[in-house]
């Protein structure tokens, strides 16, 4: 099967190449989304085909006349074949090049990131023309970065095969970090939420009250001073004559609190995520 197909392919290619100069005359390159004209020679009617990467068209033509290929037939960049068949087929190959940059597809990762993390944020931008063809020529993309505390800065990227990327660290202040990718007159905004990092200098105070002890932390913040969000779990652990007991409680309004019943002297510790706080010794009734 392979031999006949290969033979036919070569034969047809040879015939096409022979006939190409005679019957069809088309530009070698055109811009995607633009119309162009194919001139023909000869006499009589023929069937004309436009064979493209995502579109084919077929119509009857009169040889010797020109054929106008509408812009809508050429939206996709890539290789097209114009074919005219009467008793034999003639071919002209046309390369449709991407049009000017008109769209940017912008990917920013991750959506939430702890503050002060090196190279924790990465951005990728793909540049397309208005027909969603990848723009192969280098194009400049501006990334306008607005930090949580207000200032903005701009990074410039140049595409290679339609793509450019960069990475950056998160900044010390929590909040909304916006990056706007711009090319020509189009922009694509993306937002990352910078959140507090791990707790820092975690400290609790104890207030004995008879058989009980009430515990409350100082406001819990990361090392840059950002308050940890409400709902973050803080663990208080007590070891006394009754054994070991742990209470997991969420931060409310920057602080976490708990209450233990004591059985003799107790050692109480506090932790939040990977951060360990102070440890207290509390005396209680036997």
């Amino acid at each position: 099967m392979r031999i006949p197909i290969t033979f036919c392919a070569l034969l047809a290619a040879a015939l096409s190449a022979f006939a190409q100069d005679d019957v069809l005359h088309a530009p070698k390159t055109v811009t995607a989304g633009s119309s162009f004209v194919v001139s023909t020679s000869g006499q009589g009617s023929a069937t004309f085909y436009l064979l493209g990467p995502s579109h084919v068209a077929k119509r009857t033509i009169q040889l010797g006349q020109t054929i106008t290929i509408p812009a809508s037939d050429l939206a996709t960049s890539g290789t097209y074949q114009a074919v005219a068949c009467s008793s034999s087929c003639s071919t002209a190959v046309i390369q449709a090049l991407p049009a000017a940059p008109a769209r940017v597809s912008f990917l920013l990762h991750p959506s939430r990131v702890p503050v002060s993390r090196g190279n924790a944020i990465n951005a990728t931008a793909f540049v397309f023309d208005r027909y969603r063809n990848t723009v192969l020529n280098p194009a400049k993309v501006d990334f306008h970065i607005t930090l949580p505390d207000g200032p903005t800065m701009t990074r410039m990227g140049q595409t290679n095969r339609g793509v450019t990327w960069f990475e950056m660290g998160s900044t010390p202040k929590q909040g909304r970090l916006q990056i706007l990718a711009s090319i020509a007159d189009v922009s694509e905004p993306r937002v990352i939420q910078q959140v507090a990092s791990d707790a820092c200098r975690l400290h609790m105070n104890a207030a004995p009250a008879g058989r009980y002890v009430k515990l409350e932390t100082d406001p819990i913040r990361d090392c840059a001073g950002n308050p940890l969000p409400d709902g973050t779990i803080v663990s208080f652990t007590k070891i006394d004559n009754a054994g070991r007991s742990t209470v997991d409680t969420p931060i409310k309004k920057d602080k976490a609190s708990a209450q233990f019943q004591l059985s003799g002297n107790a050692r109480i510790s506090v932790a939040c995520g990977v951060a360990l706080g102070n440890e207290l010794s509390v005396g209680g009734r036997q």
Partner: protein
């Protein structure tokens, strides 16, 4: 269908991943076109061996699905490994072919694929493919076009839960890369 092909057919395809360290890892699969993936110059992150094997396999499978679809003017197989703009365009092409009474037959003699971009978050991979294809277009029973020249494609693949999808498959000129 895919399981059947992988399990029952004769092993004729061979995939070779030329990883970043230029090691060669042969992977076999059934009846698929030959794909050789070069990943020496990929950036900004390196490609893991298993990822390279999956990309290689899924890209070969995608080409087989594509060839089957444009030969029979069916679109069902496009759901397996194509997504986004690639799927939209191929669906459109097949609808046009069906309308015009055309079909396209590919003899796939293999793909030299160079992985050039792999995003830091692992969400996108760009490939440059130089494919050795025989392409024949038929109007009914009549062959109206045939070509055997190499073709170049710029490919964007993105990962799904259990496979890599072809998101963009764009034919480019000979001098594109």
């Amino acid at each position: 269908m895919k399981t059947f092909l992988l399990g029952a057919a004769v092993f004729v395809g061979a995939f070779i991943l030329l990883a970043r360290e230029s090691t060669t890892i042969p992977v076999s699969a059934a009846t698929l076109p030959k794909v050789v993936l070069h990943a020496e110059s990929i950036a900004p992150r390196a490609i893991e061996q298993r990822t390279g094997e999956m990309v290689t396999h899924d890209y070969a499978q995608a080409w087989q699905d594509f060839a089957t679809c444009v030969d029979a003017n069916r679109t069902d197989l496009l759901n397996e490994l194509f997504t986004g703009e690639a799927k939209t365009r191929l669906t459109h092409l097949i609808a046009d072919q069906r309308k015009a009474g055309l079909r396209t037959h590919y003899e796939d003699h293999g793909h030299e694929v160079k992985a050039v971009f792999y995003s830091l978050d692992g969400g996108e991979m760009q490939l440059e493919d130089t494919a050795q294809l025989e392409m024949q277009v038929f109007d009914g029973q009549k062959m109206i076009y045939s070509a055997t020249s190499p073709r170049k494609y710029l490919v964007l693949m993105t990962p799904g839960p259990d496979r890599w999808y072809v998101r963009a498959l764009e034919s480019v000129g000979d001098d594109a890369f």
